[in-house]
């Protein structure tokens, strides 16, 4: 059985005249430990899809289940518990807690986990040892995103949802972030959904999904997977 199952999910926003259909019947499956890239033009509904899997957004019809948990009709409270024990997010704009240091931001995530990963190792993995006691505003965007990744893995989640993790970063920083994600996937077997505009990423993922106009336009298993080091753009 697939780890993530999305079946004929439809979603529209607004009502009356301003009603617009964003997802018009999307189905897909992702296996455990798979690194899945979601591609598509702006406004095609990628983020919406990701948020639904993350239990942040509801849907009108269809069904989604993750790790055997059905998200259909889930209450706010149940969604919190679901995220708490299964998920981590990585956002385009890092979203670190400004009043906490890098280290404390990571500890804030550790607090939520039953089996958190050791913090010093994590900080070392993302290469922030010398910056760990700085506040987010005192480090660069790439360093912040590395912190966000460390925060995401600290929980040792089943699924990591990344919405344009390199969207705000330059080439070099993006490469580091992608290598990190790849390492995490390999080391911990974390299932990953990565929404991105960066077409080069399609070469390093196991599973390529393309969304177009609210529908799945492409759903391919990548058999010639490259490592993050090898890709270029």
């Amino acid at each position: 059985m697939s780890y993530i199952e999305v079946k004929d999910v439809k979603k529209s926003f607004g009502s009356g005249d301003s009603r617009s259909s964003v997802l018009k019947g999307v189905s897909l499956t992702v296996d455990k430990g798979e690194m899945c890239g979601i591609f598509g033009p702006s406004g095609s509904g990628k983020s919406t899809l990701l948020n639904m899997v993350g239990g942040l957004e509801g849907y009108d019809s269809g069904s989604i289940s993750v790790n055997g948990i059905s998200l259909t009709g889930m209450s706010n409270k149940e969604a919190v518990e679901y995220r708490r024990s299964n998920l981590s997010f990585i956002f385009q704009f890092y979203n670190l807690v400004p009043d906490l240091t890098i280290r404390e931001n990571i500890r804030a995530a550790q607090y939520l986990a039953k089996n958190p990963l050791p913090i010093d190792e994590l900080i070392d993995v993302v290469g922030l040892t010398e910056h760990q006691n700085k506040y987010p505003s005192q480090v660069s965007g790439g360093q912040q995103q590395r912190c966000a990744i460390a925060r995401a893995i600290a929980k040792n989640p089943n699924v990591m949802l990344c919405d344009e993790p390199t969207g705000a970063l330059d080439y070099a920083s993006s490469k580091i972030v992608l290598e990190l994600l790849e390492n995490v996937n390999r080391k911990y077997g974390t299932t990953m959904l990565i929404v991105t505009h960066n077409e080069a990423i399609r070469y390093m993922v196991d599973h390529i999904i393309k969304v177009h106009d609210g529908l799945i336009a492409e759903d391919i298993i990548n058999t010639e997977k490259k490592s993050a080091k090898e890709i270029d753009w």
Partner: protein, 836 residues
């Protein structure tokens, strides 16, 4: 929990705002708890004091001393008695010394300072407030009747906590001294004041119900009468003399008849003898006349006895009887503070509401600014309850700190807020649980409740909504189109104000609260001063003498009137208050309303002072209680008249004589412009206009401290409320302000957008607050003075409104300048800073 670390950083970041809130709480709670605690402290102090000094259960005064038999009978009722005789010495310069023997078992003096053993023959104990008010020190000498006595102890006694010479007196007089001496000195001083001695007794009930035992005692005393030979009242004596004269005339008449009859008998016998004793008829006539003489003798004896029985004069010995619980001299001190308690609870509630609202605006603002973080944490899987904790922690700690410090200050301040002018021992410090709950727990609970509500509302949105900081969907397109036509700044300002409408409402509430507190101060002071002034206007006599009975001759230049002292239950005071019915002559020189008073014996007129106390109106049935005779008296109110000192009701003197079944021409009060020479035996009290007005003025002076406290508190609240809320609004718009500055807006223009809307709020607060304050004070001032034995109307001087406005404008400008500096400090590159 690591994110709680954040709470302390949030607090440090918002330190000054929180400091403001903490200061408001400290100020507010200090005053609230301080005043509230006076009632507990007073109660505790007095309870212990009464226990220690064996306070009376009641007192009474007689025209004669009790006999040993009487004392035995009273003791059989289960009552312990103490002679608490005294006499007043006029020490000149309006000073009165009331001399007592040092008390042996009831109402004992409590030594505050100095020697505890009985004063020696050249020593006295002196009452505390008199010493303090007149700067008399321990070991000073006091001259009484030309002899110096050393003051060896400073004392208080429980039957003169309210230090008035007569129970019905309105105000205390700092020139009234209570002096306690040993028995020798008392007797020595008494020699030249024999006529002034008051046979006052105090009693305690040994066991059983004090009220019932008091009633039994009263019944016993009521039946006591004064032997004719001991009556001193000249009016009664002249009445008795008249009776004796009449009786003597009757005796003479009988004697004449008897003598005449005897003469007839003797004459007849002589005639008969001269005629040789032969005429039988003459003998019969002689016998008849003799019978008349005998009969007349018998008749005389019988008639005399009957007349004696009929005219036997029973002169009641009792002229004053008060249970301690109805005696304001004893209970007033505790009663006076009950009102403080209610007031402080009310004020505390207002402050707590204000604080929690400010807190909730804070939290809402923080959460708005923080929505990204909250959304992220929420998305990460933090629970609502965990986030709630984070956002509740800081306000709760701030409020806790403020209320703990404020409450502590309040307890510390209690002593200084105790009503002045009462004679009491050093106050016992109390820390009642209810006030601790009120001062600390209540603000915390309200803060948590309101914050929970606000935060919960925010957090009940989905993580995504919070993350994207999506506003609730409100479409007001039409309005937006219209505002476009207007000039940019006013329309931008109004949209800004709309956005911050909640803050403005709280600002309004806070400003109104500040204005109300200010009005309270102004009204208390204004009312006192106005009261003193109007008393001076209203009181047209210089001297008022209340007498036992009419004098033989009305002194030159004095006006007669009739005084009956009763009591009446007052809701506002929660107790019986002494009231006076005054009968005035039609052509009175001192009461200009006298001419219009009805001659109907059932109609009565209320003074405005009485109306304030009782809220009575024309047509009301007024029930008075005659404490001495234990009966109720009912009059119908016919109208109102202007008189302010004491709770007075007025009647036409003839109507009043008729009602109370007093002789024509009877009176017991004299009013005059000049001091009269009246025998002390006949006088119950002597009041001067000067002492009445002085007393009222001294109250006004005493309240000055309180007024200062209220003014400072209101200004602090006013300024802090503006600073906290405006600062909060500015911080929420900091990005926008920075952006506007970046595109070239000047500081003056930014002030217009972000600060000027507070002008309208301030003006609105003034427009609502001052009239509201006036209405509230009209109600509150009489209630606050509930136990005062006179009605005081709330009065705010027109100039007070000007002063308040000026203070508010200055405070506003000061806050405005501070906020302006805050705007100037927001630089254009704020927008460039990475906001993460």
């Amino acid at each position: 929990m690591i994110i709680l670390k954040r709470a302390s950083r949030m607090f440090m970041k918002n330190f000054f705002k929180y400091l403001g809130v903490i200061l408001i709480i400290i100020f507010g709670m200090a005053v609230v708890i301080g005043y509230g605690n006076t009632s507990f402290s007073a109660k505790e102090t007095i309870d212990r004091y009464w226990e220690e000094t064996n306070v009376e259960d009641g007192e009474f005064s007689l025209y004669v001393k009790l006999t040993e038999d009487d004392k035995k009978n009273i003791s059989d009722l289960g009552i312990s008695l103490q002679d608490t005789f005294y006499f007043d010495i006029d020490a000149g310069d309006s000073f009165t010394y009331r001399i007592f023997k040092s008390r042996k078992n009831i109402n004992k003096e409590k030594i505050i300072e100095g020697k505890t053993s009985l004063p020696a023959d050249n020593e006295i104990r002196l009452e505390r407030v008199f010493m303090e008010e007149n700067d008399v020190l321990l070991n000073d000498d006091l001259t009484i009747d030309d002899k110096d006595y050393n003051i060896v102890s400073k004392v208080v006694v429980p039957d003169y906590e309210h230090r008035v010479a007569e129970i019905s007196n309105v105000g205390t007089d700092e020139r009234f001294a209570l002096i306690f001496v040993n028995d020798n000195v008392y007797d020595e001083l008494l020699i030249s004041h024999k006529d002034d001695e008051v046979y006052n007794y105090t009693y305690t009930v040994d066991k059983g119900d004090a009220d019932e035992a008091s009633d039994d005692l009263y019944k016993y005393l009521k039946d006591l009468s004064v032997e004719e030979s001991r009556i001193e009242d000249t009016y009664v004596l002249s009445e008795l003399k008249e009776r004796d004269d009449d009786k003597k005339e009757l005796d003479d008449a009988f004697d004449d008849i008897k003598k005449g009859a005897q003469d007839i008998a003797d004459g007849t016998e002589n005639v008969n003898k001269a005629l040789g004793g032969q005429i039988k008829e003459l003998t019969e006539l002689g016998k008849g006349a003799e019978k008349i003489a005998d009969g007349t003798s018998k008749l005389h004896k019988n008639v005399s006895e009957a007349i004696d029985e009929l005219t036997e004069y029973k002169y009641p010995a009792l002229y004053r009887f008060n249970k301690a619980k109805d005696n304001t001299r004893v209970v007033d001190f505790v009663d006076a503070h009950k009102m403080y308690y209610a007031m402080s609870l009310f004020l505390g509630l207002l402050i707590a509401i204000l604080i929690s609202y400010i807190m909730s605006v804070f939290s809402a603002g923080l959460i708005d600014n923080d929505s990204k973080t909250i959304g992220t944490l929420y998305a990460m899987g933090y629970r609502k309850s965990e986030l709630m904790k984070l956002y509740l922690l800081v306000p709760t700690i701030a409020v806790t700190a403020g209320s703990v410090i404020g409450t502590a200050f309040g307890f510390k301040m209690t002593d200084s807020l105790i009503a002045a002018n009462y004679s009491h021992p050093d106050m016992i410090h109390t820390y009642p649980a209810v006030l601790i709950a009120y001062g600390i727990v209540m603000p915390i609970i309200i803060t948590i409740a309101i914050n929970c509500f606000t935060i919960n509302k925010k957090l009940s949105r989905t993580a995504l909504e919070i993350l994207q900081n999506r506003k609730e969907f409100t479409t007001k397109h039409s309005e937006q189109v219209r505002t476009k036509e207007k000039e940019f700044i006013p329309s931008f300002r109004s949209s800004q104000t709309k956005k911050e409408v909640k803050s403005h409402l709280i600002l309004l509430f806070g400003m109104i609260l500040a204005i109300l507190i200010m009005t309270l101060g102004m009204a208390l002071y204004g009312s006192m001063i106005h009261y003193a002034d109007s008393i001076a206007d209203d009181t047209k006599f210089e001297h008022m003498y209340v007498l036992c009975d009419p004098l033989e001759k009305v002194p030159e230049g004095a006006e007669r009137s009739l005084t009956v002292s009763l009591s009446m239950y007052c809701d506002m005071a929660g107790s019986e208050l002494p009231v006076v019915i005054e009968g005035v002559e039609k052509n009175s020189k001192y009461f200009d309303f006298a001419g219009k008073l009805s001659e109907d014996k059932n109609l009565i007129y209320a003074s405005d002072s009485a109306i304030i106390k009782y809220g009575c109106k024309k047509g009301d049935k007024l029930i008075f209680t005659d404490q001495l005779n234990k009966k109720d008296i009912v009059f119908t109110m016919e109208g109102d008249v202007s008189y302010k000192n004491g709770i007075f009701f007025f009647m036409d003197i003839d109507a009043m004589r008729e009602y109370f079944e007093l002789p024509e021409d009877y009176y017991n009060t004299l009013l005059s412009d000049n001091e009269l020479d009246i025998d002390h035996n006949m006088m119950i009290s002597h009041t001067t206009k000067k002492s009445i007005v002085d007393t009222a003025e001294s109250w006004a002076i005493e309240t000055k401290g309180t007024i200062g406290a209220f003014l400072v508190m209101s200004i602090v609240i006013f300024v802090l409320v503006i600073c906290i809320l405006v600062k909060n609004m500015l911080e929420r718009s900091i990005y926008q302000i920075s952006l506007l500055r970046l595109i070239g807006f000047r500081t003056a223009e930014l002030n217009k957008v972000y600060l000027n809307s507070t002008v309208f709020t301030a003006i609105l607060a003034g427009v609502i607050g001052m009239p509201l304050g006036k209405v509230l004070m009209d109600y509150l001032v009489p209630v606050m003075n509930g136990s005062m034995k006179s009605g005081m109307r709330s009065y705010i001087y027109p100039s007070a409104y000007l002063i308040m406005s000026a203070l508010l404008i200055i405070s506003y400008l000061a806050s405005y300048l501070m906020m302006q500096r805050k705007i100037s400090a927001i630089s254009a590159n704020e927008v460039l800073k990475d906001r993460e």
